[in-house]
């Protein structure tokens, strides 16, 4: 199947070492992956590759296009009428039922996408954004209080995980006592390819159990908010109408899944990567602490570029087109490699340098622009600002140890990272 596709004259495949669709490629470190991405950017920026090796179902696709340069990631992201999201948005093949139940707006095209997205973003009025940011600052303070008490432990559990978990559940209106459960389920949705997480279960089992658990929480919360409205996003969703119609329970539950997954491990991993990178680059850390208020905004952008917390998304071509000189056929899958675009030497000077003063910094960690650009970007930025403010000023002697990375072709995850305060 794959070999015949590779032989098709208009589908040049890179030589096997430049293959990024094996599980072992995603088991490597980010630096090792970058060695391959660099070569692809130079010699085969848009390359036809075998389907992503996955554990969920037998591949139905002959192969897919892998996009590694910044300019092409932007191009695909900004032409949604040509590169659509409604035929799946994950690099790996995922059973349709799972995609449908878990994707909500990230797996929609216009006109539905725009209407639902507007509905959600209309909840973020300037006043509510200000309130949210104050709450994030307050919560970051409490998180670091706890770290100072504990003095040592797992940085992920102590610091990186609680803040995003709190924000996203507070936003939705999920009960305090269900937050840990929701977060654990969200983790299962992105970590099913990690043998240690799966612990003997099949990947599909981990994914489906997590999804069913989150959907159940979403359905229950929707029912509850119908009876007991409150000042949260779930109440907005159960009361809202789109084209004169209320959203169905299924639509609401799917959005709950998307928000819980998108809002948790992304910010968590960005936080862990940030602290690790600041420790590895003491000069940069000094630069930041010398003028925190003046430098934190640029620093956050560089941390996002450096860490690429989301590594891949996928589109499907709606018609024949060309990208980077390659002929893309209608129906072809097109996978965007964000970490590679974030190191594109055509756009970033010395991309291998962690430079907190880098400006401009047109990283694509929240997506390459276009309609699906991360809806939570302002939240993630506020979280990083707040947590770094607390950590650098109140826990200056914090030291972290070697991170334990998640095996995933989707999120750049740190599962555990021991830490202590001297």
């Amino acid at each position: 199947m794959t070999s015949s596709a590779a032989r098709a004259p208009d589908r040049p495949s890179p030589p096997p070492p430049l293959n990024v669709t094996s599980l072992s490629f995603w088991g490597q470190t980010a630096d090792e992956r970058e060695d391959t991405f660099r070569l692809l950017r130079a010699d085969a920026p848009v390359s036809w590759q075998p389907p992503m090796e996955g554990a969920l179902m037998p591949p139905q696709q002959e192969g897919l296009w892998v996009v590694t340069r910044h300019e092409h990631v932007l191009e695909a992201s900004r032409r949604p009428e040509v590169y659509c999201s409604s035929q799946g948005w994950q690099f790996e093949e995922v059973p349709e039922d799972i995609l449908e139940a878990a994707s909500s707006i990230i797996g929609m095209d216009n006109p539905r996408h725009q209407k639902l997205r507007r509905l959600v973003s209309s909840a973020f009025t300037p006043r509510q954004v200000t309130r949210l940011i104050e709450q994030i600052q307050h919560q970051a303070r409490q998180v670091v209080d706890r770290l100072l008490d504990a003095k040592c432990g797992d940085f992920v559990d102590l610091v990186a995980k609680p803040l995003p978990m709190w924000t996203v559940n507070e936003l939705m209106g999920l009960d305090d006592n269900l937050r840990e459960e929701a977060t654990a389920l969200a983790d299962g949705m992105v970590s099913y390819n990690d043998p240690a997480v799966a612990a003997g279960r099949e990947a599909g089992q981990v994914l489906n159990d997590s999804l069913v658990g989150l959907l159940t929480l979403g359905l229950d919360l929707a029912a509850h908010r119908r009876r007991h409205p409150a000042a949260d996003l779930m109440t907005n969703l159960v009361q809202a109408e789109v084209d004169g119609q209320k959203l169905t329970d299924e639509e609401i539950a799917s959005f709950f899944v998307l928000l819980t997954v998108a809002g948790n491990d992304t910010s968590r991993n960005a936080t862990s990567h940030a602290v690790r990178a600041l420790q590895d680059h003491p000069d940069q850390r000094r630069t930041l602490t010398q003028d925190f208020p003046g430098r934190i905004d640029a620093a956050v952008e560089e941390i996002l570029r450096w860490s690429s917390p989301v590594m891949t998304v996928r589109r499907t071509a709606t018609r024949d087109t060309t990208l980077g000189g390659q002929h893309i056929r209608a129906g072809d899958w097109v996978a965007l490699m964000y970490p590679s675009a974030n190191r594109d030497e055509r756009v970033f000077t010395h991309p291998e340098r962690f430079d907190l003063t880098r400006t401009p910094n047109p990283h694509v960690s929240f997506g390459g622009g276009g309609p699906h650009y991360c809806l939570g970007a302002f939240i993630a930025r506020a979280q990083l600002r707040a947590i770094l403010n607390e950590l650098l000023h109140r826990a200056p002697t914090l030291e972290v140890d070697t991170p334990e990375y998640l095996v995933s072709n989707f999120v750049h995850g740190i599962k555990h990272m021991p830490c202590h305060i001297t």
Partner: protein, 133 residues
């Protein structure tokens, strides 16, 4: 509306798999899964057991133990095979329960999808358009 008897459930839902095994394209793929699946229906009660390796469809008696058992009302089963039911969503709502290896069912999903038109055609052809959704 609805299935009148257990026999009817077995004829129609079991029939999907009989048609599938006979299909030159779907048949070998279904056989290649090497799995045994069981569907247990209520209202009316019926059991359909599909043994892919031996291409047999029965009620479970004398068949090997299944990798996964799906339980649902016959009405849900009718909707499921017309492509109108989302499995994880139905599980979250308690309409379908799965015992055993749900991952094996997910792997079957691409094949399952190809069986929907087969089932719909059978309903048409046998004068059961009343079951169409």
């Amino acid at each position: 509306m609805g299935f009148a008897s257990s026999d009817e459930v077995v004829t129609y839902i079991g029939g999907i798999f009989k048609d599938a095994f006979a299909d030159p394209e779907i048949g070998p793929k279904l056989t290649a899964t090497g799995q045994v699946f069981r569907f247990v229906f209520t209202d009316p009660e019926a059991t359909v057991c599909v043994d892919a390796p031996t291409q047999s469809v029965g009620d479970g008696t004398g068949q090997p133990p299944p990798a996964a058992t799906m339980r649902m009302a016959a009405e849900v089963g009718n909707a499921y095979w017309q492509g109108k039911v989302n499995l994880p969503m139905a599980m979250a709502k308690g309409q379908i329960t799965v015992q055993g290896n749900v991952a094996s069912l997910l792997k079957l999903a691409p094949l399952g999808k190809r069986l929907f038109p087969v089932y719909i055609a059978r309903l048409h052809d046998t004068g059961r358009a009343d079951l169409l959704l």
